[in-house]
């Protein structure tokens, strides 16, 4: 074991920029998880369509900033506002948040009267419909080719590595501001209102609270945060394609929330970093394995080879194993620590239950 030195890792191609990528994506997923935490952790709304708000934000940011179709060969879309960078960035991100919030309000309005388990099905289905719309309305979204010239703000002025650091810092700043605002909200009478609705809708109504409005407001806030995450994502990756917005995103965010701790903003961020870190770093398990073999003494390398011998030698084996591990992790957490790492067991006592 002692032979396994950081040098082996550092020799991986692009180690530093890879780490930065993971951290940036984790920051963006932290926002997604904070948004879902408002829905589920604080209000008890089982939202299985979170990816739709993320996508809505990403597409909004893209449409506001991509060049008009005339400047792009083979473009099917008819609309690109070409807001200049970096000045257009705040506008683009605010619009992404607003559209994410509006879509969440719309989806909420159609399904918020349903009981919690039906709400789960309805949000999942509506997000699926939204995904098909994105794919099929090519005049707006360029269909399955996507919008591939989303500007990276400030990229022209600096080297790729510098930009990666700068954008990471920017994401962290946005994350800190959002987490601060959300903590203020959840610690205020508004947060108390959300929690009461989570605990017993009947009782909240009997105490004069308009629970439908409370749930819609919760939907809007969480959706806006997810939309903002979408905007950040679009300007980071530089392209927006329907394949990026699959249900797996929603489930990754759920896993992050459950692991980190429901109804804890710290837990949401921790869970997102943990999960994205795990998901991304294990992408290169095979590379690590190869470099291990190379750097270990012959005896140890042979032993290792022997140990993995019974495993199937298939290219997709390791990648799919990662999801098995995530699944196992969730099962273990729910079995032995249902409140997650930072959650409070007392708070999740009644969550997701009907009155």
């Amino acid at each position: 074991m002692g032979v396994f030195t950081p040098t082996a890792l550092l020799s991986l191609p692009g180690w530093g920029s890879f780490l930065l990528t993971v951290l940036t994506i984790a920051g963006i997923y932290s926002l997604l998880t904070l948004g879902l935490n408002i829905h589920y952790g604080y209000t008890g709304l089982i939202n299985f369509g979170h990816v739709a708000f993320f996508a809505a934000g990403a597409y909004t940011a893209a449409l506001l900033t991509v060049p008009p179709p005339a400047q792009v060969s083979g473009a099917e879309y008819v609309f690109g506002l070409n807001l200049p960078m970096p000045l257009g960035l705040p506008i683009s991100l605010v619009a992404a948040a607003v559209v994410g919030g509006l879509l969440a309000t719309l989806i909420g309005a159609t399904s918020v009267r349903l009981g919690s388990h039906y709400l789960a099905v309805a949000t999942f289905a509506l997000a699926g419909i939204f995904g098909s719309v994105l794919e099929n309305e090519a005049w707006l979204t360029n269909g399955s080719f996507g919008l591939n010239s989303v500007p990276k703000p400030g990229r022209a002025a600096m080297s790729a590595d510098t930009w990666a650091v700068a954008y990471f810092v920017f994401v962290v700043v946005v994350l800190v501001v959002v987490a601060f605002v959300l903590s203020r909200l959840t610690g205020s009478p508004f947060g108390r209102l959300l929690k009461g609705v989570r605990e017993s809708e009947d009782a909240a109504q009997m105490l004069g609270k308009n629970t439908i409005r409370v749930k819609l407001t919760s939907f809007a806030i969480g959706g806006a945060v997810a939309g903002l995450a979408g905007g950040l994502y679009a300007h980071y990756v530089g392209s927006v394609v329907v394949q990026q917005f699959v249900p797996a995103v929603t489930f990754t965010v759920w896993a992050a929330l459950l692991l980190g701790g429901v109804a804890s903003n710290t837990g949401a961020v921790f869970g997102a970093f943990l999960l994205v870190g795990f998901r991304e770093s294990t992408r290169f398990l095979t590379n690590i394995y190869d470099s291990l073999l190379a750097s270990l003494p012959t005896v140890a390398a042979d032993a290792l080879r022997l140990a993995v011998e019974p495993l199937p030698d298939h290219a997709s084996f390791v990648p799919s194993l990662r999801f098995v591990v995530i699944g196992l992790l969730i099962v273990l957490v729910i079995r032995y620590r249902p409140e997650g790492v930072f959650g409070d067991p007392n708070e999740i006592d009644a969550i997701g239950e009907e009155d």
């Binding site: 605002v181 203020r184 909200l185 205020s188 009478p189 508004f190 947060g191 108390r192 209102l193 929690k195 009461g196 989570r198 605990e199 017993s200 009947d202 009782a203 909240a204 109504q205 009997m206 105490l207 004069g208 609270k209 308009n210 629970t211 407001t217 806030i221 109804a263 007392n346 708070e347 999740i348 006592d349 009644a350 969550i351 009155d355």
Partner: protein
Amino acid sequence: MSRDSSESDAAAGVTRSDSDAPLLEVDDVVKRFGGLTAIDHASFGVEAESITGLIGPNGAGKSTLFNCVTGMLTPDSGAVRLAGEDVQDLPPNRIAQRGLGRTFQTPKIFRGMSVRENLAFAARGQTGERPISALVRPGTVGSEEADIRERVDDTLAFLSLDHLAEEYASGLSGGQRKLLELGRVLMLDPEIILLDEPMAGVNPSLADDLLDRLHELNDRGRTILLIEHDMDLVMNHCDRVVVLHNGQTLASGPPSIVQEDERVVEAYLGGFENA
């Protein structure tokens, strides 16, 4: 009533004939569940500042009637009037805002919140319940919170729950949950309070305490309508009694008169007079 008999006699008799409509009026209400008629043309009134008992055998429709009155269920026909205005088509939160509070047969407390938060939740007109205000008006919200905290402390002391203020409500006993729910209703501070079996599962000494509290509230001008199975309690502490049987109002009036009513004795009270 036992405390101030001249006043309650007035409530039971003279004032009633002089005053206008009762504070709460159930007028020919029908509620069906599929083939079952749970409430069958029920009619009665609850006088302002009275303690009225709603009695009847299990399954008579008492809780269902509460649900119809509070807006949790919409009657199939008939009217519910609060202070003379029709409320049967309003949602529960609007009815609550008009001054009606209730508790449930099985308390619906906020288990994942502290006892203090449970009570604070119920305060009316909180500026900080609007997200924007919660963020941009910390001064107003802060001073309102201070006021609410004071009222919560008073209410907890009134219900002898002060030592549990910071506990999660999930840790409370059955009787304490009943008290907590009553406390929430007190924070709402409604004109009329509907209590669904407030004494059930509460130990006798605590129940006596609770009864004293209810009289105190009544003395402060609150109207109380309570469902209760304990006949002694109803006969000794209520100004008026409404008897529900198979969804119908069999009788209503002062306990002494209802107690003599032949149909009531036959249908429900049975050997009560021996008790």
